[in-house]
């Protein structure tokens, strides 16, 4: 039986439905991330677990107990906020010990537990500091320690790294994951940052417009997106128009060049147009007889640090395709205007249905770039 269960959870604000029929079953000690753009309902769902919002319908169960109608202070759920929310009038030790004081633990117990947690977050010498004397990263670690101090059944983190700079974000997210693994606490993490979700989570819930688009491991979400939205939102994507040649054999034509999908094309008929998506990192430079090949002219080369992204324009002007190659000092980057061929495996062709294709053809896609 799952440790944290959300069954048919809905939230409406007047006429507006913020969350539609949300179902999730998380095991004890699992790290689940809610990933999606702003306004997709991920924070609202988290707030319903915390008790700050009451679901319009549905049930929330933690460790077999229905907490749907319990007040937030009766749930034993720890929460870390984007804005840290440390109590400015209290020292670090007082902040961490606040929940324990409420639970009427003895002074010695509080002191011991606060000491342990400050060790855990590597701030043992900051006990007597006030929040405004700490950096953002330190404040967020104190907020984490404060949430953990009460030994919550579930730990909720609401975009905890959003207010921090890039370097601290990476180090702190590793720290959060290490602490979570060490304590084995069931954790729900809200983020709009796909890299954060992919690197931290056991499972990811991708959300859009209040609905769950897909639940899966980071590997599944990235490599086998079940909807166009997931394919577009997680990672970057080439979106190509393809003409169906033989739906049964999965043969297609892109910019007048034949390619093949790994599976038969369902819902497509010979001569009809469909949309296929390709991850740029799966495409490689050069032609290979055993793979799909597409030729074009180098239109642009973008240096992105560890990778170099090359955009190719099809000679018939029907579109562009981009591919990534790892950067190294000896890399021979093709010049603009050079005619080149790229190849990719048949399994890399993700056939999108029409609604997904429309969603995937959003301006931020590589295709439109």
């Amino acid at each position: 039986m799952a440790f944290l269960e959300l069954t048919g959870v809905q939230k409406r604000f007047g006429e507006f439905a913020a969350v539609h029929n949300f179902d999730l079953a998380a095991d004890a000690g699992e790290f689940v991330s809610f990933l999606g753009p702003s306004g997709c309902g991920k924070t609202t769902t988290l707030r319903m677990i915390a008790g700050f919002e009451r679901p319009t319908a549905g049930k929330i169960v933690v460790n077999g107990a229905d907490i749907t109608d319990k007040a937030p202070n009766q749930r034993n759920v720890g929460m870390v906020f984007q804005s840290y929310a440390l109590f400015p009038n209290m020292t670090v030790a007082d902040n961490v010990g606040f929940g324990l004081k409420i639970r009427k633990r003895s002074k010695d117990q509080i002191k011991k537990r606060v000491g342990e947690l400050l060790e855990l977050i590597h701030l043992p010498d900051k006990a007597s500091r006030y929040p405004w004397q700490l950096s953002g990263g330190q404040q967020q670690r104190v907020a984490l320690a404060r949430a953990l101090a009460i030994e919550p059944q579930v730990l909720l983190l609401d975009e905890p790294l959003s207010a921090l700079d890039a370097k601290i974000r990476v180090s702190l997210r590793n720290e959060i994951r290490a602490i979570q693994r060490q304590l084995g606490i069931t954790t729900v993490y809200v983020t709009h940052d796909q890299e954060e979700a992919l690197s931290l989570s056991d499972r990811i819930v991708v959300m859009s417009e209040g609905r769950v688009e897909q639940i899966g491991t980071p590997f599944e979400i990235y490599n086998f997106p079940s909807t166009g939205f997931v394919a577009r939102f997680v990672g970057t994507l080439n979106v190509l128009s393809a003409k169906v040649i033989d739906p049964g054999a999965g043969t297609l034509e892109v910019a007048g060049q034949p390619i093949r999908a790994a599976k038969p094309i369902s819902g497509g008929h010979a001569g009809g147009m469909i949309t296929v998506a390709l991850r740029p990192e799966i495409i490689q430079l050069g032609s290979r007889a055993d793979l799909n090949n597409l030729s074009g002219i180098v239109d642009d080369v973008t240096f992105l640090g560890s990778i170099v992204r090359v955009r190719i324009k099809f000679t018939d002007g029907s579109g562009v395709i981009s591919f990534d190659t790892f950067n190294n000092p000896h890399l021979a980057v093709p010049d603009r205007g050079t005619a080149i061929t790229v190849s990719f495996p048949t399994e890399a062709c993700l056939v999108l249905d029409q609604a997904e294709a429309a969603a995937a053809a959003a301006p931020e896609d590589l295709d439109a770039a």
């Binding site: 008790g51 007040a71 906020f81 804005s83 929310a85 440390l86 929940g99 409420i102 639970r103 004397q133």
Partner: protein
């Protein structure tokens, strides 16, 4: 070999091209002269405004001080009021009323402002309007309303006894303190993220009482002090309501003294003014202390 780069050789570009407009020996242009002149004129204008303001506020005080010191022997007005038991008792009465006013208005205003900000922000304009009513309704109307409502024929005949009148006086003062207290508290609440702090406290198991007492109130310290001292100053100087309720407060005492002892009245006016200033200085000192505490610890 080309011309040496001035940046590399250290040769100043200015040296090659001659002095710039602000270099040594530069002749100020007409527009520069004009702007400097207008700057001086502006500075003189603002000093003049400051001087007029200073004279407006301090000349009457000086006049009062000068008048109070004309009593014979020198300073006798001050010794007379300090030895008068009425002075201490009326001042003590007003201070007690002031402190009670502060406590009650904090108990009313803090939870109200907190709740409105947290749960019903759309009600803020309405609450603000309510708290501003004492500026619109003259104290004389307020006191007549109170005395008529709570007279001997009412269910709660507070107007018939000294204790009842004391209660009514403090209640009226609480109403008078609303604009100052509410604004101070509301400003203080605006400065802190009350929603996150409240939710963080709740997730740690805190109830409303603990949240208000241990999380919200301590973070409103400076705001509460500002509101409290302003309220105290107003209560100590309040005349109309105390007079109509026949309460032995400081302002009516000041008026009674003035009927027969003009020098003492002037001295008393200065003393009450001093009390107000003392309250203001206390606010400034406490505010400065909390800031310097931050500096010291950061250093």
């Amino acid at each position: 070999m080309g011309r040496p780069n001035p940046a590399i050789t250290g040769t100043a570009i200015e040296g090659e091209l001659g002095p710039g407009p602000h270099g040594p020996g530069a002749v100020p242009s007409n527009s520069a002269r004009r702007s400097r002149r207008s700057r001086y004129a502006g500075r003189i204008f603002w000093w003049l405004i400051f001087l007029i303001g200073f004279l407006y506020f301090f000349l009457p005080l000086y006049g009062t001080l000068d008048f109070s010191l004309k009593s014979k022997p020198f300073g006798s007005a001050y010794t007379a009021i300090l030895s008068d038991s009425g002075f201490v008792s009326s001042l003590g009465y007003s201070f007690v009323a002031g402190i009670l006013t502060i406590i009650i208005s904090i108990l009313i205003i803090v939870p109200t402002a907190f709740w409105v900000r947290l749960k019903y922000p759309q009600l803020r304009p309405f609450i603000e309007f309510i708290t501003l009513l004492p500026f619109v309704i003259p104290p004389v109307i307020l006191v007549y309303g109170l005395l008529n409502t709570y007279n001997g024929k009412s269910l709660l005949p507070l107007g018939d006894s000294d204790t009842g009148l004391n209660v009514l006086l403090v209640a009226a003062y609480v109403v008078l303190s609303f604009p100052y207290m509410y604004r101070a508290v509301d400003t203080g609440l605006r400065a802190i993220d009350i929603q996150s702090l409240t939710e963080a406290s709740q997730s740690l198991g805190a109830g409303w009482g603990r949240i208000l007492w241990q999380v919200i109130l301590p973070n409103l310290r400076t705001s509460l002090l500002s509101g409290a001292f302003l309220s105290l100053a107003i209560v100590v100087g309040e005349f109309t309501i105390a007079t109509f309720m026949s309460r032995p407060a400081f302002a009516p005492y000041l008026n009674i003294v003035g009927d027969s002892k003009p020098y003492e009245q002037a001295a008393l006016a200065l003393v009450s003014f001093g009390i107000t200033w003392l309250a203001m200085i206390l606010i400034a000192v406490i505010g400065r202390n909390s800031r310097s505490q931050i500096k010291v610890t950061l250093g």
